[in-house]
Symmetry: C2
Subunit: 210 residues, 2 copies
DNA sequence: TTGACTTTACTGCATCGTGCAGTATATGGT
DNA sequence: ACCATATACTGCACGATGCAGTAAAGTCAA
């Protein structure tokens, strides 16, 4: 039986359409460019191209360099057709895992310090990604895009990322100010501040975005 | 061997600390309240409380109603201690799967219509969640929170959600305007508009958030 | 030039998590 | 009385991850 095509399979196939890659290069490239839209483990990125070969969507050969070999994968014309067909299929709903937010929801099991720390860790992770994308944009102006004809897509994508990261960073600031008013994480319930905030939210407004 | 405690285990344990739940109720509650921070399948939500019982963090009994039985789970004092210890551990980095963004990145394999459709689908999914949270806030003002002493946490969490959803919706509008200027998805590269946008982003600004 | 450390370049395996099918009772409406 | 829908799960196949293990190539310093 031909292996099932998952979204990850199409992601790898789309990369192969840009140029042939080795398995290792695919793991690196997926870390750099796909991570923000479709974060997948290196292990999977090594397995996917093999499935594509089985399906006839890619071919492979071993490249020798000294005593060392690596697998190079190349897309086939069947693979290109499969990619085009993919664009017509239904998109999966978004899915966001934010453990820091889970810890906020259940912050009453720990101290205020624990909650601050969860926010700090979120801020550090987001800040790293944020900086990486800003640097990437500077490199597009400077050295250019590795696949120049695709710049319009990468930049529109980056707009999303930076927008999102800024929103999260602004919320973290707001959350810290809010928590600074608490002397405990527990049993505060509907305080005056929280009620004001709830009214705003019930009206589809937020203290930050409007 | 005692089963390993995952973040999902602690999420369920935290729910059990609010009140005893049946397996089915846990799946419903996780859909309603945890979904936005920690989306997990119903299947997992049925398995987790069993592991908690094995660990001694919960007890279980079968409740009979007629010819029908259901498993009720209750937290133990060991479970409460484990929860407190969890708040001191390191938070996992965020992880966002947005297939719509992946399709934007590789939009040059399909038509402009395909790309608009991916954006429409994202907008529909986000819009649904957005509305659900706004309604939830209205219900807090109206009937109140099911666990009133935790309102301050839920509302701060909701601020994050609504903020995020608004950001995504605004970006979708922007992306549509941008794409409206294209006659094709392919090979546009660094257009004048894209260059302006890249300069903005490289300066850590976006056309939306500032 | 030898040794230590990092990077490249993977594979196998155990385990985690998801989707789906299947089973069976209860409930509300026509 | 019948049908749809909600309740209340379990088993199983398979997808995805993490980690350990293997091994060659590059790099820098004593």
């Amino acid at each position: 039986m031909a292996p099932k095509m998952t979204t990850s399979s199409y992601a790898v196939l789309a990369l192969l359409d840009l140029k042939p890659w080795t398995g290792y290069e695919l793991t690196q490239q997926a870390q750099r460019s796909l991570r923000y839209a479709w974060p997948k483990s290196a292990r999977l990125l090594y397995s996917e191209p093999k499935k594509l070969v089985e399906r006839g969507y890619a071919t492979t050969y071993k490249e020798q360099s000294g005593n060392r070999s690596r697998n190079v994968y190349e897309i086939t014309s069947e693979g290109r057709i499969a990619l085009e067909e993919w664009t017509e299929t239904r998109t999966q709903p978004p899915r966001m895992e934010l453990e820091a937010l889970l810890r906020l929801l259940f912050a009453d099991h720990g101290s205020i310090e624990d909650l601050y720390r969860a926010l700090d860790e979120l801020e550090a992770d987001i800040g790293e990604h944020h900086q990486a994308i800003v640097d990437l944009m500077a490199s597009y102006l400077d050295g250019g895009h590795p696949f120049p004809h695709r710049t319009h897509l990468s930049v529109l994508f980056a707009t999303f990322q930076i927008d999102m990261f800024k929103t999260i960073e602004r919320w973290i600031e707001f959350a810290r100010d809010e928590i600074a008013e608490w002397e405990t994480t527990k049993d505060l319930g509907m305080t005056a501040r929280t009620e004001t905030l709830t009214r705003l939210l019930a009206n589809d407004q937020t203290p930050l975005s409007d």
